[in-house]
Amino acid sequence: MTELNPEQEKRLKRIQQSRRKNAEELEDLHQQGEIETTDSSFFSGLAGDYQDLGVFAIYHGDIGAAQTSFNEAMSYYQRSSDKDSIPLHSARQRMQGMYTALLAGEEATLSNLAESMRALAAEEDCDPTDQWADRYFLGWCLAGAVLDAVDDAALAGLETVSDEKPGAHAHYGQAVLSTARGIRDDEPAAIQSGIESMVTFHEQDMDADNVVKQIMSVEATALTILGRAKGYSPAISSEFIPMDLVEANAASFHL
């Protein structure tokens, strides 16, 4: 984990307080019927807040609190995807839900989200040039990796989408592609390469002064937990992957 300087620590503390306060206030407003955004959008927003709160807990070394916050995030992502009026659009929340389920150590919800993503792929065709193609093929590949049922069509679609992505974003697609292929073909090197690609994406995409991104990569950590849950031991050492959380969660899954 990157060491924060005193000014960054102060900022982190302010943001942490603000995130929690805002999330609780917004939940109250939702109960009072004063929220105007759609349920899908609103729940996705809350999921992001709780995901950040999980990251803050990691910074403070509180794995239990982190798992609790990631669990909240997972639930909100699931609720968001359930309420989304555009099926292909909902693939992002399903994908984010799978990431946070891995970080929360929640196998049942992880499987539910993965199955719902595969069901979506079975019901809805998507061309690689479609508006939502990237999230669709990413979600489909990740779901296949979770369920040991990686489809060739999912891999081919994601490969096509990734070829069109510039710079750091190509690493993101490559990361999921390689991890899914590694799990399907039982190739530990591909899984390790996938996780390394996600770390590369995180390093290139993050802003150097972003105090949250400096703590961890949500996606790379989730892929590492997935690899471990599948019985592999990727030799990853990155300041953006909190190994305490990986060790704590890997034992929770029997995938």
């Binding site: 943001i15 603000s18 306060k21 004063e34 929220i35 105007e36 955004t37 659009h89 002064d209 105090v211």
Partner: protein, 359 residues
């Protein structure tokens, strides 16, 4: 009735026959009252002046029987739906915009007219496109003017081919060179988007909004900043306005393709999810304080936030195109699940001008 800007000494009242407007002093005026009205609006005016001014004016009228160049009611009736000017011999100017029986707004034109010479007034430049040439689907076309550092003709209306209607303004810039020199970081290259971002700041300031982001407006090179181009706050309504500015050299209209991002987990620019993530990132980088970030977020969730597009189009043949008709629910930029655009301002830099003689 909604009053936007009113002269400090003006009184506006609704009567059984319409509206009474009493215009106060305007020391920055340039010699006339110009009331820009729709043809369907009947207007009468009485000039109020000091005794000294009256004596001076009557002396002048004795030597020049044509002291006032006002346009009569007959002239107005002959051109229904067209912009008309009622010109009086006072050093004051005022714009009135109306929709049907309502005064949409009323405001003085000091900014734009400070730059006009008398010659400019006599041969005012008008956009070659007329209201019917703009592809907005509207119940009523509203023609008016917008004051800025350059001169425009404005067509305003509501785009209705999308799921939700979009308030749409279409400006024709009369002097591209001045516009580019005023707004672009590099006047020879508009591809950095700075022109759209700077004019967006001015648009918000013209409406009296506080610029929340970027603090102090744009500095050169700010165009690459993450997140929204401008965030403004309307103190009167308590609403935030998030602006995404786009500049194009093609004939594109405003559609989903403008807002797509390369990010894998990225929702389109200006969408609710994108605004949330952008605000978070600005806060996490220390560019936006947590209180403001929280306020913006609350506004978004409670429906007190406007998602606005400012689109600067620099192509040598003005098309009059505004928004593209969406092909599906997924490509409709007014769909809240996709983006949820509330309003669009299009600024056409190379609209063909035509001279209009006021006399």
């Amino acid at each position: 009735m909604y009053i936007d800007h009113v002269l400090a000494t003006a009184v506006v009242a609704e009567t059984s026959e319409g509206y009474d407007v009493v215009i106060g002093e305007n020391p920055n005026g340039d010699g006339h009252i110009a009331l820009y009205i729709l043809g369907s609006t009947i207007i009468g005016a009485t000039s109020v002046e000091t005794v000294e001014d009256t004596i001076e004016r009557e002396k002048q009228e004795d030597t020049d029987q044509d002291g006032s160049d006002k346009i009569g009611e007959d002239d107005i009736d002959e051109a229904p739906g067209q912009e008309q000017r009622w010109r009086l011999s006072e050093r004051q100017k005022l714009w009135i915009r109306t929709i049907g029986d309502f005064v949409l707004n009323l405001y003085k034109a000091s900014n734009i007219y400070d730059q006009y010479s008398d010659d400019d007034d006599e041969n005012d430049s008008q956009c070659g496109l007329n209201a019917t040439g703009i592809d907005m689907v509207v119940d009523k076309q509203v023609t008016g003017r917008f004051s800025a550092s350059s001169t425009y003709t404005l067509f305003g209306g509501e785009y209705q081919k999308t799921k939700n209607n979009v308030a749409t303004d279409y400006y024709c810039v009369h002097d591209r060179s001045t516009f580019v020199q005023t707004y672009a970081d590099d006047p020879t290259d508009l591809t950095d988007g700075s022109a759209g971002e700077r004019v967006s700041v001015e648009l918000m300031e013209e409406r009296g909004y506080e610029i929340v982001w970027p603090e102090g407006g744009f500095d050169e090179g700010d165009a690459s900043e993450i997140g929204p181009d401008v965030i403004a706050y309307d103190e009167n309504t308590g609403e935030y306005v998030v602006v995404e500015a786009k500049t194009t050299g093609s004939t594109d209209a405003v559609g989903i393709s403008l807002f797509r991002t390369d990010a894998y987990d990225g929702d389109p620019q200006l969408s609710e999810e994108w605004i949330r993530n952008s605000i978070r990132r600005l806060e996490e980088r220390g560019r936006l304080d947590s209180v403001t970030a929280g306020n913006i977020r609350r506004s978004l969730e409670t429906g007190s936030l406007q998602q606005k597009v400012v689109f600067v189009r620099d192509v040598d043949s003005a098309t009059g195109r505004t928004l593209t008709s969406p092909r599906s629910e997924s490509t409709d930029i007014t769909n809240e699940t996709v983006i949820g655009v509330d309003s669009v301002t299009i600024t056409e830099l190379q609209a063909e001008d035509e001279d209009v003689n006021d006399d």
